[in-house]
């Protein structure tokens, strides 16, 4: 192993990631590590992807049975009501909450209910951002609720959701 590390340049990233993956699998107590590779299956990274599951299972997997409060009064979810093309749906999430070192928005999760793999993205924020706002472009398989869940640094969970009508799905198969 040491020799491998010394070679540094020669060891491919994949090898390193796979080694990390073995560790990741043993780290059962990490409640959620996105991208923690599962057991290596064949040549691919299918096992490392987010699991295909129902959205309830995703929420339980991410947050256990912690209570999630309705945050629709402080969270602004900017996403079209009707998306013609599910392959590109812009979403912006803004949490009107202080961003100070003592209390700030720690994570924002984006979960879309009807996607095969509902867990879409996790953002880890810091007070240096000034405002808790993140945005990206999603791929939605069909008409679905999209949820944004904000986790404050004190552990409070807030949720806001909105239904998006999708005319053409963007996830293929």
């Amino acid at each position: 192993m040491v020799e491998r590390v010394r070679k540094g340049q020669v060891v491919s990233r994949r090898v390193v990631l796979r080694a990390l993956g073995v560790f990741g699998v043993s780290a059962v107590f990490v409640p959620f590590v996105l991208g923690t590779p599962g057991p290596a299956l064949g040549q691919g990274n299918l096992g490392a992807l987010q699991p295909e599951e129902k959205v309830d299972a995703t929420l339980t997997r991410l947050f256990g049975n912690r209570s999630i409060k309705d945050g629709s009064n402080v969270m602004k979810l900017d996403i079209p009501l009707i998306a013609e093309n599910g392959a590109l749906v812009p979403i912006t999430v803004e949490v009107q909450a202080p961003m100070t070192p003592s209390i700030f928005v720690n994570h924002i999760y984006i979960v879309s209910d009807k996607n095969r793999r509902p867990m879409n993205a996790r953002f880890s924020l810091t007070p240096e951002m000034g405002v808790a706002v993140i945005g990206t472009t999603l791929r939605l398989g069909g008409t679905t609720d999209v949820r944004a869940i904000a986790e404050m640094s004190d552990g409070t969970l807030l949720i806001a959701k909105r239904e998006v009508k999708v005319t053409i799905g963007g996830c293929g198969g």
Binding site: V89, M119, F123, E128, M129, G173
Partner: protein, 109 residues
């Protein structure tokens, strides 16, 4: 796909000290989706961005873990508090070991 990994960053033309500045960034990437055969997903080394790291003057201010549910050529929006002039760096890491970086100069007017 010659352009893969091209990063574009858009910041407002004028920035004042202390502003929370909104930044939009774009990366050219296929964000490959899971293929299926007979209803079953095929196991292969899918090529997509799994991590985005934003650093301001070397300090990491935002990290995103992304999946295949993010679109092709994705946009990422975020804000940062402009406390001093310097550089904003956005790094995208994909599952094939690709590392794409974009930088923007932050100057006060």
């Amino acid at each position: 796909m010659a352009e893969i990994g091209k990063v574009r960053i858009r910041i407002p033309p004028t920035i004042k000290r202390g502003d929370a500045v909104r930044v939009r960034s774009l990366v050219i990437h296929p964000m490959e989706i899971v293929q299926r055969k007979d209803g079953k997903p095929i196991d292969k080394n899918y090529h997509f961005i799994q991590k985005v790291i934003v650093a301001y003057n070397g300090r990491e201010i935002l990290q995103a873990e992304t999946t295949q549910s993010i679109s092709e050529n994705p946009f990422f929006t975020f804000s940062f508090k402009a406390t001093e002039p310097g550089t904003l760096t956005i790094t995208f890491l994909d599952t094939h070991g690709g590392q794409y970086e974009g930088t923007a100069d932050i100057r006060f007017s």
